[in-house]
Amino acid sequence: MAVLTYLEAIADGIRHEMRADERVFMIGEDIGVYGGAFKLTKGFLDEFGSNRVIDAPISEAAIVGASIGAALNGMRPVAEMQFMDFVTNGFNQIVTVAGTTAYRWGIPVPMVVRGPSGGGVGANPFHSRNSENWFVHATGIKVVCPAFPDDAKGLMISAIRDNNPVVFYEHKGLYRKIKGEVPEGEHVVPFGKVRVVREGTDVSVICYGSAVHMALEAADMLEKSMSLSVEVVDIRTLVPFDEEGVLRSVRKTGRVVVVHEASLTGGFGGEIVARISDKAFTFLDAPVKRVAAFDSPTPFAPTLEKAVLPNADKVAEAIREVAAF
């Protein structure tokens, strides 16, 4: 196994599928000659040529729409949003066309729309958004938010092989910060299965994406400071959602904190809490707490950004509260 960054692992997953399947191609802005704004596709143009690594005009609707058309015609496109924020410009194509096609026509649209999301890197309101839950609510679209390099690769391979539209939320703050061992070659991580990244008995933290790393840091802090045993459950995919995987941990600890970097109201955390309340009410020993961003755009100045986004300290505080209830 090689040690790869989160970014390298994603590239490795795409490259693996492009080598294995001629139907897979990439399309996006500055992904070919330039190798992508984050250099994720560095070397792709040389290896696969301009028919499989397509530099498109700044037209997200055309990029996504053309990907849908190509998917209807037997291809498996991977469309890059240079920043996931810009998916708003291709939103209609994803939710109106791609997300309704299986239901209306019974015809597969095997397409991945991927790109960097998330804050904490001093960008601005237009380069920091966590918009994954928009697509959860749109129906007909699978939503993937990996937290670790091995999952990023394995989930990317599953995304490309899936016969449905998949939005793949990479967290730009993890791109070079998180490294890990990644199996070489074929490595498939199926959708709809949680990963218990840390076993514990006192409190469950249910999370995904960057929030998993906040939870792990908080769990370490609380283990050292107060010998609290915290279980961290990474749900990995929002659609499909592994409800049973979450409930298993809830039944074990009876105390739950749900964390995501996206803003609180209308976020996926509300859905997780609703399922827990419905299916595991009698196992709960405390109210379920949520930790998420303040309901605002993600601000630019470091002081403001740090204040509105969740972090390990805020997660730790919520865990302490739930543990003490």
Partner: protein, 322 residues
């Protein structure tokens, strides 16, 4: 494309099918048996039929809009399938999840529209792009109106198609009104095909009531696409002779304007031409027309006997399994 008299008889047949499909649907609407919108294409027959006729139905692909019933017939769609789809009965290619002409029939190379105007134009471009990447030329023909032309996705798709020299043909059916909004409130350029210059593609504006002119012009666009010279906008100027849909009394259209366009009726004028050229007799045409309408009504009657799909269909196929 050199049209023979056989071609002309076929063009007339499809025009009559489009017209009588409308008449049959209007009858159904008035009987209160149609639900959802009934979008008449009265006045648009020549654009739908003439444009699709320029394509190779085995090689090319059609992305029609809601008023392009004639193009479905050119691509070999049968009346019963169309009716079952329109009226959302059991056996619909959409299982009751959607209606009207929104279906897809990959075998017949027809991919219907969504209600968001212009949304399928980038999709049509991508369909052709997939084949272009594999070294095959598949012409995609799709449609938009004088109103839908103002949607941002149309602009993105046309620019994209021009940059990649995709074999895409966009028929702009300028039928004067976007629901209630006239051309003057929709765009400021003289002709919608003027935009082609800005995209770096070919564009032409023609009389959209002349089926042969539409077929000839589109045939030139097909040749251009096959040569690798990229997309074409063909603006077909015509008139929507009914409301946006049948619930709309279109009181906003001046009566004189309708009278003026009535003289340019694409079906009646083509009948006159066919009779004058002695390709078919007036009585033969009337007989064909009567039979076409009675076939449509019979198809509707058969369709109305079919139940709606079972309710559990609503819970299936949100995703493709496996």
């Amino acid at each position: 494309m050199k049209l023979t008299n056989d071609d002309r008889r076929v063009l007339l047949k499809y025009m009559l099918m489009a017209r009588e499909f409308d008449n049959a649907m209007l009858r159904l609407y008035r009987q209160g048996k149609a639900f959802g919108g009934v979008y008449s294409q009265l006045g648009n027959e020549a654009t739908s039929v003439g444009s699709a006729y320029a394509l190779d139905t085995k090689r090319d692909v059609l992305f029609p809009m809601h008023r392009n019933i004639g193009s479905h017939f050119v691509f070999g769609q049968d009346v019963d399938t169309l009716m079952i789809n329109h009226l959302a009965r059991e056996g619909s290619q959409m299982r009751g999840t959607d209606g009207t002409g929104h279906y897809a029939d990959p075998e017949k190379r027809i991919y219907g529209n969504v209600s968001h105007l212009g949304a399928m134009i980038p999709v049509a471009a991508g369909f052709s792009m997939a084949d272009q990447l594999r070294g095959i030329t598949t012409v995609s023909m799709t449609y938009i109106g004088d109103g839908g032309s103002q949607v941002g996705e149309v602009h993105e798709a046309l620019n994209f198609a021009a940059v990649r020299k995709l074999p895409l043909i966009l028929i702009v059916e300028n039928n004067q009104y976007a629901y209630s909004t006239p051309n003057s409130s929709e765009f400021a350029c003289e002709k919608l095909s003027d935009r082609a210059l800005g995209y770096g593609m070919a564009g032409v504006t023609i009389d959209g009531t002349d089926v042969e002119l539409v077929a000839q012009t589109c045939s030139e666009a097909v040749e251009r696409a096959l040569r690798g010279d990229g997309p074409t906008i063909v603006e077909c100027v015509t008139m929507r002779m009914r409301g946006h849909a049948e619930h709309d009394d279109f009181a906003y259209v001046p009566k004189e304007l309708l009278e003026e366009w009535k003289l340019k009726d694409p079906v009646e004028n083509y009948i006159k031409k066919i009779v004058a050229k002695k390709i078919m007799s007036a009585s033969d045409i009337q007989a064909l027309r009567d039979k076409t309408l009675s076939d449509m009504i019979a198809s509707i009657d058969r369709t109305l006997e079919i139940p709606y799909p079972a309710a559990e269909e609503g819970f299936k196929n949100v995703f493709i399994e496996g």
